[in-house]
C-alpha cells in the first residue's frame, strides 16, 4: 500500500522535524470520560496536569508547545457509550476517551480506536511500571490498545452492628474475611445471617440484603461464585456455564423468597441505595472500593472501619470460589485524532500515568493504583482504605474478558437475572432463554457447558 506508507512517512517526517526549533505548535486535545462522578475529576484533570508538564519539557528542549485540554465528564455509561459510538460514526469523536476495558473489543473491531502502543513505549517509565495484569486487561488481539487509568476491587460490605446484634463476637466478625476466602462461609450462609438480622428486628423486612441496583460487572461475580467462567483461557471463546448461571439466578430468587431483598430491587434509585448503605440499613451489600469515597464524602458515613466489614463475594457452592472483579478503566486513543494530535495525546496519557499524578485520582476516588510505585506515594500509602483493600481484595480479583461479543452475552445474562428475580420467568426458563439467545447470536463463538 504505497499511498498509506507515503502518508505515514509524511507523518513520521513531520514528527522527526519536531526536534528542530520551529514555530509555536498549538494543539487542542479533547478528552471524554465515562462513569465519572464528583470524585473522579482527575481522570481529566490528570491530562491537564500532564499538558502543563509536557509544555514545560518542550520549553526546555527549545520548542514552543501549547496544549489546550478540553474535557467532558459523563456520569453514566449508557449515554457515554452511545455518544462516543455515534460521534465516531459522524466523525466528531474526541481524541481520548476513558472507558471500561471491555469496550476495546467492539471499538477496535469497528476501527473507532487505534492501538496506543503505536504511540508510546511500554518498556520505558512510567508505563513500564504499570502492573502487567493491567496491561493485559488493556490488550486485545495481541496489541495494547489502552493505558490503564485505575483499578479496583468489588466488595461485599457487612454491617458490623447488625452482625453483633445476632450474636457475632468481635473475633468472629474479624475472621469473616478469611472464612469467606476459604469458602467456609457461602452466599447461603450469608442469607441465613441476613434472615436472622431481620428476625431479630435489627433491620427492616426486605432490607437485609442490598445488591447493586443496576447492571454492572458485579453480577458476574455471582456467576463465578457458582463456578462459572466467562471466557475459556485457552481459546479466548466466551463460556456459558448453564449450571453456574442457574446457581446464580436461584440464589437471588431464594434471597427474595427468604424475604431479605425485594423482588423489585433491580432498577431502584442509586441515591436511595447509597443512603441505605451509608446509614447501615442493609446487613450486607455489594459495591466497589470507590464507594468508600462516596459514602464518606457525600453520604455522611463517619466511622467506616468501626461499622463496616469488607470481604470478597463469598462462594455460592462447592463448585465456585470467593471472588472479586476488577474493572479497570483505560485511556483509549480514538481513530478520530489526527496523527500529530494522537501522538501528543498518547504522550499526555503516559505522563498522567506517573505515580504521583495517578495517586491523586486513586486516593480521591478510592480506586486502586496502577503500579507498585504508586503505592509508595505518601498520599496513597497513608490511605487506610486503599492499603486495606489492596491487601485483602486485590490479589483475588479478575477482569471481565475483552471480546467483541461479550456485550451480547452480558445483556442476555442480565435480562435473565431481571426476569427470574422479578418472577417473570422461572430460573430454568431464564437460563434456557439466555442459552438460546446467546447461541443464536454467537453460534460457534460461545462454548456452552
Amino acid at each position: 500500500m504505497p499511498s498509506q506508507n507515503l502518508l505515514r512517512g509524511a507523518g513520521a517526517l513531520l514528527l522527526s522535524c519536531a526536534a528542530l526549533p520551529v514555530l509555536a505548535q498549538d494543539y487542542t486535545i479533547t478528552v471524554w470520560a465515562g462513569g465519572t462522578g464528583d470524585d473522579s475529576n482527575y481522570r481529566m484533570d490528570a491530562i491537564d496536569m500532564a499538558a502543563d508538564i509536557l509544555e514545560r519539557e518542550a520549553a526546555i528542549r527549545g520548542e514552543e508547545l501549547s496544549i489546550t485540554v478540553e474535557s467532558q465528564a459523563w456520569s453514566g455509561w449508557d449515554d457515554f457509550k452511545q455518544a462516543f459510538s455515534l460521534a465516531s460514526e459522524a466523525g466528531n469523536a474526541p481524541d481520548l476517551i476513558v472507558s471500561g476495558h471491555e469496550d476495546i473489543g467492539p471499538w477496535s473491531e469497528a476501527g473507532l480506536i487505534v492501538p496506543i502502543e503505536d504511540y508510546v513505549y511500554f518498556d520505558t517509565w512510567p508505563l513500564s511500571s504499570i502492573y502487567p495484569n493491567l496491561i493485559e486487561v488493556a490488550s486485545f488481539n495481541g496489541q495494547i490498545w489502552g493505558i490503564p487509568q485505575d483499578a479496583e476491587a468489588r466488595v461485599m460490605f457487612w454491617s458490623i452492628p447488625a452482625l453483633e446484634a445476632i450474636g457475632w463476637s468481635e473475633d468472629e466478625i474479624a475472621s469473616l474475611p478469611d472464612l469467606i476466602l476459604n469458602g467456609e462461609f457461602t452466599l447461603y450462609d450469608m442469607l441465613d445471617a441476613l434472615k436472622a438480622m431481620q428476625d431479630e428486628g435489627v433491620l427492616e423486612p426486605g432490607m437485609a440484603f442490598g445488591p447493586r441496583v443496576s447492571n454492572g460487572p458485579d453480577y458476574w461475580q455471582f456467576y463465578q461464585a457458582f463456578g462459572g467462567e466467562m471466557a475459556d483461557p485457552e481459546t479466548g471463546k466466551l463460556v456459558l456455564d448453564t449450571e453456574a448461571l442457574t446457581g446464580m439466578y436461584q440464589f437471588f430468587v431464594d434471597a427474595v423468597e427468604m424475604g431479605v431483598v425485594s423482588s423489585t430491587h433491580l432498577g431502584m434509585e442509586w441515591d436511595a441505595w447509597h443512603q441505605n448503605a451509608a446509614a447501615g440499613s442493609y446487613g450486607a451489600w455489594h459495591g466497589g472500593t470507590w464507594h468508600y469515597a462516596q459514602w464518606t464524602n457525600q453520604f455522611g458515613l463517619e466511622d467506616f472501619f468501626g461499622t463496616v466489614e469488607y470481604t470478597l463475594i463469598p462462594a455460592g457452592d462447592e463448585n465456585g470460589r470467593a471472588n472479586s472483579i476488577t474493572h479497570p478503566l483505560v485511556y483509549l486513543l480514538t481513530a478520530a485524532a489526527p496523527e500529530e494530535e494522537a501522538a501528543i495525546a498518547a504522550e499526555l496519557v503516559a505522563i498522567a500515568s506517573e505515580p504521583r499524578i495517578n495517586a491523586l485520582h486513586a486516593v480521591k476516588s478510592a480506586h486502586l493504583g496502577i503500579s507498585e510505585e504508586e503505592t509508595l506515594v505518601p498520599l496513597y500509602a497513608e490511605n487506610r482504605w486503599l492499603t486495606a483493600a489492596s491487601e485483602r481484595l486485590a490479589p483475588h480479583t479478575n477482569a471481565i474478558p475483552n471480546n467483541p461479543d461479550f456485550g451480547t452475552y452480558w445483556t442476555a445474562m442480565y435480562e435473565g437475572l431481571e426476569a427470574s428475580w422479578t418472577g417473570v420467568t422461572s430460573v430454568e426458563d431464564a437460563v434456557a432463554e439466555v442459552e438460546a439467545s446467546v447461541t443464536q447470536a454467537l453460534g460457534d463463538d460461545v462454548i456452552v457447558r
Binding site: 467492539p106 469497528a110 503505536d118 423489585t264 432498577g267 496523527e339 456485550g407 426476569a419
Partner: protein
C-alpha cells in the same frame, strides 16, 4: 402543492422507513460500525479459521512478520521522507540485517544516535522495512487478497478466501434479526406489555377520561369550563423532562403520594419503581394524563356541534343526564371516539420517552414495551453494544403494524365517504 408534499413525505417518512428496512436486514452493531468495514486478520480470525481447518503452520505463516534492512526498504523510507540523519544511521549500521518481530527491529532502531524522539515516528519508519499482515486494516478485499497471496503463498486458495471473508469487519446482510424476534420468548412478553400499555392507557385515559371530562365540562357553566380545559392541557404542554420529574416528586419515597399514604396508614414506598403493579399504574397514568387532554379537546368540540335543541327536546321528554348522554350524545360522538382511538393507538405504540425517563421499563423488565426495547437495543444500553440491525428490525415491525392498523382504521372510518362529494347541494 403536490411536489412539496411529496418532497416532505420522501424526506420525513419514506427515507427513514427505507433506511430502517435496509438496516433491519443487516447485523449492523457497534462492532461492525455503520460505514463500510475493513479487512483485518487478527489472532481471533486465525483461531476461528483454526476451528474450520486452518493448519497451525499456515496460521504461523500468515501471522509471521519479517523486517529486512535492504535497498528496497531504504528507498521506501527515503521516498516517505524519513529524517535523513536517521536514515543514514539505519543504512550505515543495520544494512543487511533481518528481524523476526517488529519489537526487535524497533529496539534496534531506538539504539541509533539520530533516532526520533517520537515513538510514532520511529514505528512508522520501521513499517517501511517490512510487512506484517496481522492486525493491519486493509481497505478493500482485493488488497488483503493480494497481501495474503504475497505473504503466505503456501496457504490453499480456498482457505485464503475463507480467511478474507472472515476478516471483514463491516455489517453483512442477514435475516437473522427476524428469526431471533420470531423465536425468542422475550418477544411474547414485549407484545403482551405493549398491548397492556396501549390498551389500558387508551381505554382508561385517552378515551375514557377524555370523554368523562368533556361530558362533565359540557354540563358546567362556561367560565369554569374554560379554566378546567386549560388546566387539563398542562400535562401536554409541560416539557417531557419537567413532567417526568414532577411525577418522580409525586411518586417516589418522600414524595407527595407516599407521604399521603403514610398519613392514611397505607403502604408507602416508591410507587414508580417499588412494585410491578404500582409501576404499571404510574406509567399508564402519567402517559394517560397527556392523552386525556387530546380527547378532551376533540370531544368538547364535537359536543358543541350537537344541536342544543336535541338536548332540550330530550329534557322535555323527561330524560335524565345519564339517559341524555347514552341516547343522544354518545351516538353522535362515534366518529370522534373512533378517531381518538385510532390516532392514539398509533402514537402510543411508538412512544417510549416517558417510560424511559420514569420506570425505565422496570422493575426488572416488567414495564418494558416494544418501542422502548427497540430504542435500548439500537441506541442505549449499559454494555454499549448497540445492535443497530436488530433495533431496526424491531422498529420495522412497528412501522408495519402501524401501516396495517392505519389501513384498517381508514376502512373502518370509511374515509372515502368522509372526503367524498357532499350529497347535499349548498
Amino acid at each position: 402543492m403536490v411536489a412539496p408534499a411529496i418532497l416532505l413525505l420522501m424526506a420525513f417518512f419514506f427515507t427513514p422507513v427505507v433506511l430502517t428496512g435496509v438496516f433491519a436486514f443487516t447485523d449492523m452493531s457497534t462492532s461492525t460500525g455503520i460505514s463500510r468495514g475493513c479487512y483485518v486478520v487478527t489472532p481471533t480470525t486465525l483461531r476461528r479459521l483454526g476451528d474450520r481447518g486452518l493448519g497451525a503452520n499456515d496460521a504461523e505463516a500468515i501471522s509471521a512478520a519479517s523486517y529486512a534492512v535492504d535497498e528496497a526498504g531504504l528507498a521506501a523510507a527515503r521516498d516517505a521522507g524519513t529524517d535523513a540523519a536517521f536514515l543514514a544511521d539505519i543504512e550505515e549500521r543495520l544494512t543487511g540485517e533481518t528481524f523476526e518481530t517488529a519489537r526487535d527491529f524497533e529496539l534496534a532502531l531506538r539504539d541509533l544516535p539520530n533516532a526520533p524522539r517520537s515513538p510514532r515516528a520511529l514505528k512508522s519508519a520501521a513499517d517501511l522495512f517490512g510487512q506484517s499482515l496481522l492486525n493491519h486494516r486493509f481497505v478493500t478485499r482485493a488488497e488483503l487478497a493480494e497481501a495474503l497471496a504475497a505473504h503466505a503463498p503456501g496457504v490453499a486458495e480456498e482457505m485464503r478466501e475463507a480467511l478474507t471473508d472472515d476478516a471483514y469487519t463491516g455489517a453483512v446482510f442477514t435475516t437473522e434479526n427476524f428469526t431471533r424476534l420470531a423465536t425468542q420468548p422475550e418477544t411474547g412478553r414485549l407484545i403482551a406489555n405493549t398491548a397492556l400499555y396501549v390498551g389500558a392507557t387508551l381505554s382508561l385515559f385517552n378515551v375514557g377520561l377524555g370523554l368523562f371530562l368533556a361530558l362533565v365540562l359540557f354540563y358546567m357553566p362556561k367560565p369554569v369550563t374554560g379554566l378546567f380545559s386549560t388546566l387539563w392541557l398542562l400535562p401536554r404542554i409541560t416539557p417531557v423532562v419537567l413532567y417526568t420529574i414532577m411525577w418522580k416528586w409525586f411518586t417516589w419515597e418522600d414524595g407527595f403520594l407516599p407521604i399521603l399514604a403514610e398519613q392514611l396508614g397505607l403502604p408507602a414506598f416508591n410507587y414508580m419503581k417499588g412494585s410491578v403493579v404500582t409501576a404499571w399504574m404510574t406509567m399508564i397514568a402519567l402517559n394517560g394524563f397527556i392523552g386525556a387532554s387530546f380527547g378532551l379537546i376533540l370531544f368538547s368540540g364535537a359536543l358543541r356541534a350537537i344541536p342544543v335543541q336535541q338536548l332540550w327536546a330530550s329534557e322535555v321528554d323527561g330524560a335524565n343526564r345519564l339517559q341524555q348522554i347514552r341516547r343522544v350524545i354518545l351516538p353522535q360522538l362515534r366518529w370522534p371516539i373512533l378517531f381518538v382511538t385510532s390516532y392514539q393507538t398509533l402514537s402510543l405504540l411508538s412512544s417510549y420517552e416517558h417510560i424511559w425517563l420514569t420506570t425505565n421499563g422496570g422493575p426488572g423488565k416488567t414495564t418494558t414495551v416494544w418501542a422502548l426495547e427497540a430504542f435500548k437495543t439500537a441506541l442505549s444500553n449499559y454494555s454499549g453494544n448497540l445492535e443497530y440491525g436488530l433495533g431496526a428490525a424491531m422498529a420495522l415491525v412497528l412501522v408495519v403494524v402501524g401501516l396495517v392498523l392505519s389501513i384498517l382504521y381508514l376502512r373502518l372510518f370509511r374515509f372515502g365517504d368522509l372526503v367524498g362529494r357532499p350529497r347535499i347541494e349548498f
